[in-house]
């Protein structure tokens, strides 16, 4: 089998699986910091107990992120040695910086978060929670820096076929870094907050732990509402950036075959790459041009301006991008309805809405993966945009059979981890928010339960 295809499949599988976990961490740590802040301020145990429950879930999610992240740290050397040699002068530094500045901080204080309650003061425990939150976001920043450099490379020059760093600041803060960071972080907040809200809603539907569940629902829904609404703005700005800096990618997202002014936004369609046509297209005339420049006469480049061997595939990025946008709009709708119900203090009684939240939990994962697929497949045929082709980036020394073997092993191991991880998280959720908040916290006497002041 074709090593390039196998190597891409393996990277897609391992990175796609990994990308389930860090966004959850981003959102969950935010909710945890809010709860810990409320606990610190009011001294009420109910906040601490709810936070302790989320910390238990975070422990499982985080460790799965760590485990699957190990493979990615070395994937560039394993399957993409030509890539590593060609752009290692720039691409390695953010990965190392992530370790030094962010991942150490995150991992060390997660240990404190999981095991340290009762060993340190409340203020120090709050600080640990904040540092895990802060470091997980910083970690995201360095990874987005590395990935954005592949999208919109800057701050380098080519020397004897190798990219050589000329300006670290420009390489790190390349034209897409900031907006992609904001977009990814908001995606994480939507994910983590919806997980927390879904868990809280499930408790309320079952009539369990009403006070704690109500509190968790309010807190997480507040994050969800803000993140979902701001995501509309960040998504818009990100699209404008793509239109400017990677026009063929936007042309693929929108299946825009020909350059035009008054370019339409295609709501639905089935792109046919051979015929260069979109079948069953439903279009809003002029909307794409308007979105790109607040003017329907904005000229948008179509795929016809790019040589065929430098165009991304169209069907997959088109479909992923559009379903992602649809999901984003669904989140906004859910956020607005939730905010309205909360404003009328009817959130806890709106059973239909609570059930909906539970069923919505998988959706942000789908949205994250689709956004990532749009971004990465839309970058093809380049590994680094207009610098290095994906087909030139693989390891010449690795036979296809070896990649196939490791691909099969990754699939089996990740299936095992996914099954075990999901069943453990579901068990933690089913045990519920009223489970004594003492697990692993070393604050209770041996075999003891929560002191009476902790129960409610």
């Amino acid at each position: 089998m074709n090593p390039v295809f196998l190597a891409r499949l393996q990277f897609g599988l391992t990175a796609g699986f990994h990308f389930l976990f860090p966004p959850t961490t981003l959102g969950l740590t935010l909710v945890i910091v809010i709860l810990e802040s409320l606990h610190l301020k009011t001294g009420r145990d109910v906040y601490r107990n709810v936070s302790a429950f989320l910390v238990r879930i975070l422990g499982v999610v985080f460790v799965m992120g760590v485990a699957t992240g190990i493979a990615l740290e070395f994937a560039f050397g394993n399957n993409w040695s030509a890539y590593s040699r060609t752009v290692g002068d720039i691409f390695g530094a953010p990965l190392a910086a992530e370790g030094i500045f962010a991942f150490f901080l995150e991992s060390v204080f997660l240990g404190v978060l999981l095991f340290g309650r009762g060993r340190i003061s409340r203020a120090k425990y709050w600080l640990s929670a904040f540092l895990v939150f802060f470091a997980s976001h910083l970690s995201g920043l360095w990874i987005i820096i590395a990935n954005s450099w592949m999208q919109t490379p800057a701050g380098f020059r080519m020397e004897a076929g190798r990219a050589v760093l000329t300006d670290f600041g420009r390489a790190a803060l390349n034209p897409s870094t900031v907006i992609r960071f904001v977009h990814t972080i908001l995606g994480g907040w939507i994910t983590g907050s919806l997980v927390a809200a879904g868990i809280a809603a499930w408790h309320l539907v079952k009539g369990r732990a009403r006070e704690k569940a109500g509190l968790l629902l309010k807190t997480s829904l507040a994050v969800f509402v803000v993140a979902a609404i701001f995501q509309l703005g960040s998504g818009h700005l990100h699209s404008v950036q793509v239109t400017r800096t990677q026009p063929e990618k936007m042309a693929a997202f929108e299946a825009l075959w020909k350059t035009q002014t008054g370019a339409p936004f295609t709501i639905f369609g089935i792109p046919d790459e051979k015929a260069e046509k979109t079948r069953l297209a439903v279009r809003v005339p002029g909307l794409l041009s308007f979105l790109a420049g607040f003017d329907t006469s904005t000229r948008i480049q179509g795929l016809n301006e790019f040589p065929k061997d430098a165009r991304p595939p169209v069907l997959l990025p088109f479909a992923s991008y559009h379903i992602m946008i649809l999901l984003g709009l669904v989140f906004i709708l859910a956020a607005v309805v939730g905010a309205a119900l909360a404003a009328r203090k009817r959130l806890a009684d709106a059973r239909w809405y609570l059930k909906l939240l539970v069923f919505f939990v998988p959706l942000p994962y789908l949205a994250n993966e689709l956004g990532w697929i749009s971004a990465e497949v839309g970058r093809q045929p380049w590994a680094v945009y207009r610098v290095l082709r994906t087909s030139d980036a693989v390891s010449p020394a690795v036979p296809g059979g070896n990649i196939l073997f490791s691909l099969i092993m990754f699939t089996l191991i990740y299936a095992l981890i996914a099954a075990a991880g999901i069943s453990i998280i579901l068990r933690l959720v089913r045990r519920g928010l009223d489970e004594p908040a003492t697990e692993k916290e070393g604050q209770s006497p041996p075999g003891g339960t929560v002191p009476s002041r902790g129960g409610n």
Partner: protein
């Protein structure tokens, strides 16, 4: 010396420091991961051993990820050659590390399937503890490379005497770290067993060093002319001697310290033997050295700023976390 050369030398040392830091810190939880079935005689003791590493193993493992990232950034050709060249062996390490990472957390929640994750933790700790040394032995002994710096051997090329001896020595050193840590964090019967294990492993590391010396003498006689290698080798023996006496006196903190300095000195010895190579090639003119494998001077400089700004902080809060969890590990409260 030109700035670029100076930076390359500094980064050769810093990469060594990161891997040595990994060996010392993750080394003890890796070693404990292999040893716990032999140390623990009941569920409570098992729990105590797991709890002694529970809060810190994850931060320890970041030394490996950072070391890998730093190698990628500072010497991308070395990273590319080794990880694509030793493909199947390093994939085994990755699979093991992945399973090991989840198993400790999963076993505390897994109920009836706990045994599976306990086994995964042991196997997942054993493979890296053995194979890291084999990989290091190969880059030191020399592997077939072509003019594009690509590895031209196969999986079985890696299984030669010097790398295998390095692998066993590394395994013994990891087990020594693990048993010295266990002695430090436990009491009573369990502690006595951990001390005995540490004593045995001290001898095992000593024998490993003698075999490694013989292998280097046979296969790389030139390297024995290097004075720093002899000095570091002497520090290994000094550490092992102090370690044995600390164990006999029941001074577990000092024992762990000397076990760590022995590991550090082992890295120093290998670094001194190997410098300025990263990957020795069967044809010496094709070797990857700090010169032809390195990044640009600017990248090395940026990386140095990052390391100098970040690593003191890392050391500071790592010390803080170890202080939070200082003292003997207990069984109080649920978990694992």
């Amino acid at each position: 010396m030109e700035t670029w050369d100076l930076l390359r030398n500094v980064w050769f040392i810093l990469i060594g420091v990161l891997f040595a830091g990994y060996s010392i810190l993750d080394g003890f939880d890796l070693g404990l991961g292999v040893l716990w079935p032999f140390l623990a005689s009941n569920e409570d003791e098992k729990k105590i051993l797991f709890r002694s590493i529970g809060p810190v193993w994850d931060g320890n493992e970041v030394w490996l990820l950072t070391g890998g990232g730093a190698l990628f950034a500072a010497f991308p050709h070395a990273y590319a050659t080794v990880f694509s060249g030793f493909y199947l062996a390093l994939m085994l390490v990755l699979f093991a590390l992945i399973l090991r990472a989840v198993s400790l957390e999963f076993m505390s929640h897994a109920g009836t399937r706990k045994k599976i994750w306990e086994a995964a933790f042991a196997v997942g700790s054993f493979l890296p503890a053995l194979l890291f040394g084999v990989a290091l032995g190969n880059v030191v002994a020399g592997v077939p490379l072509d003019a594009r710096m690509e590895y031209t051997g196969n999986f079985f090329t890696l299984l030669r005497p010097l790398p295998l001896v390095f692998g066993l020595t590394g395994l013994a050193a990891f087990l020594l770290q693990g048993s010295a840590w266990a002695a430090l964090k436990t009491t009573g019967e369990l502690q006595a067993r951990a001390r005995r294990a540490a004593r045995t492993m001290t001898d095992a590391v000593g024998i490993g060093c003698l075999l490694s010396f013989a292998a280097v003498w046979l296969y790389l006689p030139e390297a024995l002319k290097r004075v720093p290698a002899w000095l570091c080798g002497a520090l290994v023996w000094l550490s092992l001697g102090l370690l044995a006496s600390s164990l006999n006196k029941g001074r577990d903190g000092r024992a762990f310290l000397f076990s760590s300095t022995a590991f550090l000195a082992l890295w120093g010895t290998v670094g001194a033997l190997h410098y300025p190579n990263f990957v020795r090639a069967a044809d010496p003119s094709l070797s990857l050295t700090i010169t032809n494998a390195s990044s640009s001077a600017l990248t090395l400089k940026v990386m140095l700023v990052i390391a100098l700004a970040g690593m003191p902080l890392v050391v500071a809060f790592t010390i803080y976390a170890y202080r939070v969890f200082r003292g003997k590990a207990g069984t109080a409260g649920p978990g694992y």
